[in-house]
């Protein structure tokens, strides 16, 4: 790659050889450690880079449209860990699994490494930036009015520049996001006459009803939703909110519901209107203008519509009464799981329901104006123009329509009609593969930018390191093209994209009356942006509210099953499929890795004699897909589902050809306002072929072993322990103690054992690290799993080794089912399982070389360079949380430049060595070193593990159990606390807090 920076030296490449960095890259080498190494100093000492000490930069996550705030931890000028920015209103310090995996899009080995253009022979060739920009400027200005840009960028300075730039040339911009919530936007315009998306306050809602909206996975801002949901739905001071999910398939959000109703697909709107009708009929508290809807709603009385919805009339009435009596409540709709032809009407119905129950303004706040694209209709219109040949130059920026739209929509063919196509994609995806000029954009962590995800939030992005490859921010490309082309673009002059951004922010500073700009700029950058309170605007019913129709849509095609694709919470719309972390992180619902699947109800599978792993073919009018079957009790018997995001044809080595693309089954959206994902019926065919499913699930039933405990709300209110609650449920008789000897045994045994095992605590003056995990708050989203991978250099082992159960994730989320047979409602419990750091650890006495031993501060130490690899410790661990390096996974898992992400504080394990969760001992030692320099002891909160820091539900609390005032000590004293496998007397340091159940009666 040629050098364009004037310093003549690529600072980051040489920084890594400062003799310091790359500490994590060279693995634990076997024999000699005295290889000749070079120490290459700076030319000029940089102020913000001290070798060995991390530097944190505030930035913004670009993995989805929510725009969460980031704190990027860098060591020796390379980003190694992403964490949430505590000051940011959207995610308040938390980050989902996709956000954590942003590093793997930054360091992805499949990234386009420099500008390329199409050669005569059809191949692509590298060209220098200057020529690329000259060619781009010439073509764009020549196209003039026949220029079109498809941009997925969020609202911000770049989008404004792009709009101005394109307008200057007379072209048009279509802002397009695959999951763009078009039905909600249309519904808000129809019912309230307000365009835009409201913000939802899950924290204060006491009763939440979701009509197929998977708000914990891909709906609007999942981290913000999950923070609120965990705060209200998690058991706190004697109460918890209730959540009812109504959808044909139980998504991860459905699993976190207290009740899930497998309703008839498409019947959600009718149920919402029927609930509104019951509320209007029985209560008078509705707003004045809502009363006018009584006429329209009369047709949706529960008795009339109940039979076509899968619910009984009483159930609808019960739901309605509880919805209106719980002040405030919240109904949400518009998720991918229920995006069928009638989705706009469904969202309108839910708007009416919220309005009638008085939630609009309390839990549903308009005025937040969340960022949304122009919707599919605009893209369809552009497609028509492309097919008509009216477009001369098409620029595709941060979007992949060829993959994200069903093949039957013919977008690829439309692109073929455009003579000249430009793409700024980071990775050569399906759309970029068809383009003639590639101007690879710098990743969000390598460029200046800002985003306005919602009203009141202006979130800044700053380059935390030198660009990994020869890429430029697209803003820079536009400005240079403007300078090169001149003419109408002459007005868009700026020294550089950074200056342009600063100029715009000077305007913002002036508007806020900030004094001198430099200090304002530095303080805003450090805070990550400007955060003002989101304005709340009152809304009234618009006349359109009267014309809402609740009839269920007609599904095209014949076939006995309805096909309902599900959006994966890890792969989103398929942009996550090129990241090994997200592919190996088991899907939160099915626990399958690296493969796509077809969900089928066990009884339907029995009826069709389908075993798990048998490859099924689904055939619809528009196409067919093949994938292994996965028996899933959380789906209707007449519905089949498959995940979106798989079946890429060109998206790098990890994603290409992996799994089947669910969109192939869908018909062309035609002139619909949005892509109706749930729209086609399919025929099920067996292919007689079999493929073992790469899932990390052993048995999904806990066989009454008390791994995932739960208790009723009543029991929790009375302060019972899980054991007492079980005891009460199982007949409640007092346990009659027969003999005095039994009394002594119970009393004597426990005391004697406790004295014997106190040795784990040495003199008791050291900290004793411990953790509590609140199963009432854990939603099973697996953000902690990816955070652990990022912090501890855990290698991804690939599909073949996951098939043999050899995945290396130190923390796994166990998903146990309860009930679900013979009509009983299916209940799901999540248990994050990691090393329990037992005081009486069974893995320690069996290790022949003291590789596993107990540290004075209560950790179960695992010394990698002392481990010989007999693996007895893993056999003897009742929790099975010790993982073995069967191969040299560190060599396969970190190809250049993924190895730049390795954390230099954590040893990269070699082959033949056992590894396990260490309670992030490098963070503990780092904090102890820092505290020792300041001559003070550790305070509660100085140290937190990577998983506790990332958990959006704040379910994991880490700290020193010996400190009575610490958060972990207080929450460990919670009566709901229990230890897993208490009877083995291994005395784990992790206390789980039992989940609290609220059945229908609460």
């Amino acid at each position: 790659m040629d050098e364009t920076q004037d310093t003549g030296m690529d600072r980051r490449r040489f920084l890594t050889v400062l003799g310091v960095t790359g500490a994590g890259t060279a693995a634990l080498s076997g024999c000699s450690t005295d290889r000749v190494q070079k120490l290459i100093p700076y030319l000029v000492q940089s102020e913000d880079q001290v070798p060995g000490i991390p530097t944190y930069y505030a930035s913004t996550c670009t993995e989805c449209a929510a725009g969460c705030g980031l704190h990027v931890k860098t060591r020796e000028a390379r980003a190694i860990k992403l964490e949430g920015n505590p000051a940011h209103p959207v995610n308040a310090g938390k980050l989902c699994a996709r956000g954590q995996a942003g590093l793997q899009s930054l360091y992805n080995p499949n990234r386009v490494r420099g500008p390329k253009n199409r050669q005569a022979d059809g191949g692509t060739a590298d060209i220098p930036w200057n020529d690329a920009i000259a060619e781009f400027a010439a073509k764009a200005s020549a196209a003039g009015g026949r220029l079109a840009v498809i941009s997925g960028a969020g609202r911000g300075t770049f989008s404004d520049l792009l709009a101005a730039w394109t307008a200057a040339l007379g072209g048009r911009v279509v802002r397009y996001q695959p999951f763009d919530h078009e039905p909600m936007v249309a519904a808000n315009r129809q019912v309230f006459g307000v365009a835009g998306l409201p913000s939802h306050d899950f924290a204060s809602a006491k009763f939440i009803v979701s009509f197929g909206a998977d708000f914990l996975e891909t709906w609007l801002a999942p981290v913000e939703n999950q923070r609120g949901f965990a705060a209200s739905h998690g058991y706190h001071d004697g109460t918890k909110s209730r959540h009812v999910a109504l959808s044909p398939r139980m998504s991860l959000t459905g699993m976190n519901a207290d009740e899930w109703f497998a309703i008839v697909p498409g019947a959600e709107a009718a149920i919402a209107l029927s609930m509104a009708q019951v509320i209007l009929a029985e209560r008078s508290s509705a707003p004045a203008d809502a009363v006018a809807l009584r006429g329209m709603l009369a047709a949706y009385a529960p008795e009339q519509i109940a039979q076509q919805t899968g619910l009984t009339a009483d159930q609808i009435k019960l739901l309605a009464r509880e919805f209106v009596s719980a002040e405030p409540s919240l109904a949400v709709a518009g998720g991918i799981g229920s995006q069928h032809a009638g989705a706009a009407q469904l969202c309108a119905a839910v708007n009416i329901l919220n309005y009638v129950a008085g939630n609009v303004g309390t839990t549903v706040r308009f005025g937040a104006d969340l960022d949304a694209g122009d919707g599919y209709a605009a893209l369809a219109a552009l497609q028509k123009q492309m097919e008509a040949g009216e477009i001369a130059v098409l620029v595709v920026h941060e979007a992949n329509p060829v993959y994200a739209l069903p093949k039957s929509s013919g977008f690829a063919a439309a692109m073929a009609k455009v003579p000249y196509k430009v793409s700024t994609a980071l990775v050569l995806d399906e759309t970029a593969a068809l383009c003639d000029l590639l101007l690879p954009e710098s990743h969000g962590l390598e460029r200046w930018d800002d985003l306005r995800p919602r009203a009141g939030v202006q979130s800044l992005m700053q380059p935390v390191m030198e660009p990994v490859f020869d890429t430029l921010p697209t803003g820079e490309v536009l400005l240079r093209a403007a300078k090169a082309a001149g003419g109408p673009l002459a007005s868009l002059q700026a020294a550089s994209w950074e200056e342009y951004l600063k100029a715009r922010w000077q305007g913002v500073a002036k508007a806020r009356g900030a004094g001198d700009f430099p200090t304002f700029w530095v303080t805003t950058l450090a805070a990550g942006g400007l955060y003002d309170a989101a304005p709340v605007s009152a809304v009234k019913l618009a006349p359109g509210a009267q014309s809402v129709v609740g009839t269920s849509p007609a599904f095209t095609g014949e076939g006995e099953f309805l096909f309902a694709p599900s959006a994966s919470s890890l792969l989103y719309d398929g942009r996550g499929t090129d990241k090994p972390w997200l592919l190996e992180n088991p899907d939160p619902v099915t626990k399958i890795t690296w493969q796509s699947w077809i969900e089928i109800h066990p009884e339907t599978a029995a009826e069709y004699d389908v075993r798990e792993g048998e490859i099924l073919r689904l055939v619809s009018a528009s196409g067919s897909i093949e994938a292994p079957a996965y028996l899933y009790p959380g789906i209707r018997r007449d519905v089949l589902s498959a995940p979106l995001g798989y079946g890429h044809t060109s998206f790098g080595q990890y994603a290409t050809g992996r799994g089947a693309n669910a969109l192939d089954l869908l018909a062309a959206p035609g002139d619909a306002a949005f892509v109706p994902y749930v729209s086609t019926r399919v025929r099920l065919e067996k292919t007689r072929r079999y493929q073992k499913v790469a899932k990390t699930e052993g048995s999904n039933r806990q066989l009454g072993r008390g791994v995932a405990e739960a208790m009723s709300l009543g029991a929790a209110r009375r302060g019972l322990t899980p054991e007492e609650a079980h005891h009460e449920e199982a007949g409640g008789g007092a346990h009659e103690i027969n003999t005095a000897r039994e009394l002594d045994a119970i009393a004597g045994f426990a005391a004697a054992q406790k004295a014997a095992t106190l040795k784990g605590n040495y003199a008791g003056d050291h900290p004793q690290w411990g953790m509590t995990i609140d199963l009432a708050k854990c939603t099973g989203c697996s953000a902690c799993v990816t955070a652990c991978y990022a912090e501890n250099n855990i290698p991804t082992v690939g599909e073949a080794d996951v098939l043999r159960g050899r995945e290396m994730s130190w923390m796994r989320i166990e998903r146990y089912y309860e009930g679900g047979e013979e009509g009983e409602p299916l209940e799901t419990r999540f248990v994050p399982m990691l090393c329990q750091h037992c005081a009486n650890a069974p893995c320690e006495p069996v290790c022949p070389v003291y590789a596993a031993y107990h540290t004075p501060d209560g950790l179960n130490g695992q010394v990698y360079n002392r481990c010989v690899g007999t693996r007895y410790c893993s056999n003897n661990c009742p929790y099975k949380v010790r993982y073995f390096n069967w191969y040299a996974y560190n060599k396969k898992a970190f190809p250049e430049p993924l190895n730049l992400q390795l954390n230099p504080d954590v040893t990269v394990r070699a082959r033949g060595v056992m590894e396990k969760c260490t309670f992030c001992v490098q963070r503990i030692r780092g904090a102890q070193n820092a505290a020792a320099l300041e001559r003070r002891g550790l305070r509660d909160g100085d140290v937190t593990s990577a998983c506790a820091q990332a958990c959006p539900s704040d379910a994991i609390i880490f700290g020193d159990r010996m400190d009575p005032a610490s958060r972990v000590a207080l929450s460990a004293a919670d009566p709901r606390g229990y230890h897993v496998f208490e009877e083995t007397n291994v005395r784990p340091s992790i206390t789980y807090l039992a989940k609290v159940l609220t059945g229908a009666e609460a």
Partner: protein, 444 residues
């Protein structure tokens, strides 16, 4: 005993017959040796691949972290125990019938334990630092963990290998001297060197007999303790199905049972090949079979006791483990273990079977298949359904597992056949001891 057996040979005939076994190898012997070396090379290739690629080649499926390598390790240590039992414990009991078979079984012990000794190196993740298991002084001030059963294993196996080798060599010295005096040329020089200048003088016999007695006295507790220590590899854990107090006697009985099975498998063809049918006769096999019946019945009791204890203990983890061992995904291994070990051994109640050598040979094959499966079932089925239901998983072995197993048989067979050809497989001086010297005044 029914009848005291005295071999119908004179001293000279004994010497002549045993020296004859050391002559030029027959075609059958060479073929068997080639087969053994071939199997060994398969094992060697597999081990080199494990060293190069990693243990992942084998079929390990976490949570099953131990599979066929540990099974084969316990299998070979078990086979080693019958030899020392017959040569040491029966020596203390002055039993007559041990004299003809004890040298072959003692050699089998040494080579079996040599084979087993390889596995603490083969099965660990970092094979090249196995010496960390030994308490050698090092600059890091680090010592091994003596509380770990694996370390007891290292000491037990190395002690057992040393003592049984010493016991074999001490027993061999007089015989080598006898052979030295019968052969000539380069073989005489070889045997002269090996016989350490043994002349059979009264002074030497005086110390030799006492020394041999004490070695037998020391080897007796050793043979019972080594397989107990090997069983504590499992019994010291908290895994349901492993931590049972019955494990020590259960494993020792199983060891002797499988050891004598291997004795039958080796001796029945060997005596035909080395033409010593008249020295190792039905009387010996009858008594060996009785011993097999005895230990087989102990196994029968042990299996029943394991299931009873699991049921009676009311511990849900144990009950599920044993239920799945009999009816779970590994039911085939569980039942083949019980049939081969418990039921096949009951056939030996009938004298006709005990003295029918082909029947004994077939039964011995079943014995060793059953015993290999017993360790496989104990190890793999208990690990695959442990405490944590989420982490349950099934093992399916790969070529690397079977490669090392074949290699171990090759390694053992190669040494045993070489030994049978170079050193007297039947103990000359012990048999002569049972034949009374001719008397001038007649009568015995």
């Amino acid at each position: 005993m029914a009848h005291a057996y005295t071999p119908a040979q004179t001293h000279a005939e004994v010497t002549r017959d045993v020296v004859a076994t050391l002559g030029t190898p027959s075609r059958g012997y060479v073929m068997m040796l080639a087969g053994a070396v071939g199997l060994f090379l398969v094992g060697l290739f597999t081990f080199v691949m494990l060293l190069k690629e990693g243990l992942g080649l084998a079929g390990y499926n976490p949570p099953v972290m131990w599979s066929t390598y540990i099974t084969t390790f316990v299998f070979w240590v078990g086979i080693g125990h019958a030899g020392t039992l017959i040569s040491a414990i029966l020596f203390l009991f002055r039993s007559q019938w041990r004299t003809a078979v004890y040298r072959a079984t003692e050699a089998m012990t040494v080579f079996a334990v040599m084979t087993a000794g390889l596995f603490p190196i083969i099965h660990i993740g970092r094979q090249w630092v196995f010496y960390w298991l030994l308490p050698y002084p090092n600059q890091r001030y680090l010592w091994p963990n003596f509380k770990s059963p694996l370390l007891w294993d290292v000491f037990a196996i190395s002690t057992y290998l040393t003592v049984s080798t010493t016991f074999l060599v001490v027993g061999l010295v007089p015989d080598i001297a006898a052979v030295r005096d019968q052969v000539s040329g380069w073989r005489k020089k070889l045997y002269a060197a090996c016989s350490l200048g043994w002349t059979g003088s009264d002074n030497q016999w005086r110390h030799y007999t006492r020394g041999y007695l004490y070695l037998a006295a020391l080897a007796t507790p050793l043979v019972l303790s080594v397989h107990s220590v090997v069983s504590w590899d499992f019994a010291m854990s908290i895994i349901p199905g492993w931590h049972g107090t019955i494990f020590a006697p259960y494993f020792v009985a199983g060891a002797i049972y499988s050891g004598i099975g291997m004795v039958f498998t080796l001796l029945i063809p060997l005596r035909k090949m080395l033409r010593v049918e008249h020295m190792i006769v039905d009387y010996h096999f009858d008594n060996l079979a009785k011993l097999t019946l005895f230990t087989g019945s102990i196994l029968f009791y042990a299996y029943a006791m394991e299931y009873f204890v699991a049921w009676y203990s009311g511990n849900p983890f144990e009950q599920v483990t044993f239920w799945r061992r009999a009816f779970g995904p590994m039911w085939w291994a569980g039942w083949s273990m019980i049939i081969c070990n418990a039921f096949v051994s009951q056939l030996l109640w009938f004298r006709k079977i005990r003295t029918n050598l082909t029947a004994l040979f077939i039964i011995s094959i079943f014995i060793n298949i059953g015993m290999w499966f017993e360790r496989y079932v104990i190890i793999v089925s208990s690990l695959s359904n442990d405490y944590e239901p989420w982490a349950w998983g099934q093992l399916n072995p790969t070529w690397a597992d079977w490669g090392i197993l074949a290699g171990s048989f090759g390694w053992f067979g190669m040494y045993f056949l070489l030994f049978a050809r170079t050193f007297p497989i039947v103990a000359i001086q012990e048999i002569k001891e049972t034949i009374p010297f001719p008397r001038k005044r007649g009568g015995h």
